[in-house]
């Protein structure tokens, strides 16, 4: 992080009509500069204990979020709660397979989320394509398109496994390891290239912020 940064060229937003290009951000994401010592540790503690979940169930996995949100598993007691918009959320749960059409929304939602942001990926489909390994419409590895902090095995993972995943995420954040957002910024060009390879009709800004 301390290394000298060259200022990247502004994003072209070529997917948009020329008159709309100016309406959106043309700067690439930048890495987060951590605060010093104890203050950053305090921030990390605060972040880890208030995980705000984006209410976007992208695949089968969304079905287990309902029990989590309700009385039996009650995730609120762990500081986790769903939010309706990416702008208020810090955790994105990728609930399994992602069709190309959904991937586009995933990218957009992810980029719109406030930093620091974290991604939890559920099930086989996010790791290596799962049962849709030969489908023409689902991606195989979500980590090609957005950075992922924690993977949870299963199809579907039980709510308890999700909770365990959140605990792991908390642990990672507290130890200052939730680097996904910075990774995204660092490898922005790589992620973009991957995204544009599969999202054929790219009609949104290059960076949706």
């Amino acid at each position: 992080m301390s290394e000298k940064k060259t200022i990247p060229a502004p994003l072209a937003n070529e997917g948009l009509p020329p008159e709309e290009r100016g309406l959106f951000c043309d700067a690439a994401p930048r890495e987060y500069e951590p605060a010093r010592g104890a203050w950053e540790r305090f921030l990390n503690w605060a972040r880890s204990e208030s995980l705000w979940l984006l209410g976007f169930g992208t695949g089968c996995g969304a079905i287990e979020l309902r029990p989590l949100m309700t009385s039996r598993f009650d995730m609120y007691r762990y500081g986790i709660q769903p939010r309706p918009t990416p702008r208020q959320s810090s955790v994105f749960v990728i609930g399994g397979y992602a069709s190309v059409k959904t991937l586009k929304r995933i990218v957009r939602s992810y980029e719109q989320m406030m930093g620091p942001k974290f991604v939890l990926a559920l099930g086989s489909c996010t790791i290596n394509g799962g049962m849709y390994w030969d489908s023409y419409n689902t991606i195989k590895r979500i980590d090609q398109y957005i950075p992922v902090d924690v993977y949870i095995a299963g199809c579907m993972p039980r709510p308890e496994a999700l909770l365990a995943g959140f605990q792991e995420l908390k642990r990672i954040i507290k130890s200052g390891g939730g680097e996904g957002q910075n990774e995204y910024a660092r490898n922005f060009d790589w992620y973009k290239a991957n995204q544009k390879k599969v999202i054929k009709d790219w009609n949104m800004p290059d960076y949706n912020w």
Partner: protein, 177 residues
């Protein structure tokens, strides 16, 4: 052969009535008569409910076989109407005026098989896909795995061994030549 089969044969040249089970039958008509047949079945024969519409790619004989599944709720029986269309130029009359949901199926078949239904609402709009550049993917000659392999990155490191050839390698390599 029952009354309806005779009637359909007489009016629309329907053929090949086949009782799949006691409450389900299939029959074949020419694609050009499909709208008339469906209208007749809906209005005169009691088959008021359209369960679904779909197509089968019979690539071997160069045809798409359309399947229209109807149900007569009162008589508690179903009927699947088949019609072949030329695979090279698949165009069929739209029945969206007969049933309120038919246009969606037609839009689906347009996208998935490339079968055209002129006049059907939004028939040329994308349905489930977005930015699809390949051929209609439900056609038999579209290879889903090959497309997936070429398009979506896979996690490396997978390798498997065929037991028989592995054993040959280990136990009697001399036979491998």
């Amino acid at each position: 052969m029952n009354e309806l089969a005779k009637e359909l044969a007489g009016r629309y040249g329907a053929r090949g009535w086949h009782d799949i089970r006691k409450d389900l039958a299939s029959v074949e008509v020419d694609a050009i008569r499909i709208r008339d047949v469906m209208a007749y079945l809906r209005d005169e024969a009691g088959y008021g409910h359209l369960s679904f519409m779909t197509a089968i790619d019979n690539i071997e004989r160069g045809a798409f076989t359309l399947s229209y599944a109807l149900r007569d709720h009162d008589a508690r029986r179903g009927l699947i109407v088949h019609a072949d269309v030329d695979r090279a130029e698949p165009t069929v009359d739209s029945i969206h005026l007969l049933w309120g949901q038919a246009w969606t199926y037609q839009r689906e078949m347009r996208e998935w098989f490339g079968i055209d239904f002129p006049g059907s609402p939004r028939v040329d709009e994308e349905f489930v896909l977005e930015g699809w550049e390949g051929p209609p993917m439900m056609r038999r000659d579209f290879d889903s795995l090959a497309y997936s392999d070429a398009t979506y990155a896979e996690r490396p490191g997978r390798v498997t061994h065929d037991p028989a050839s592995h054993m040959r390698e280990k136990l009697y390599p001399e036979a491998a030549q």
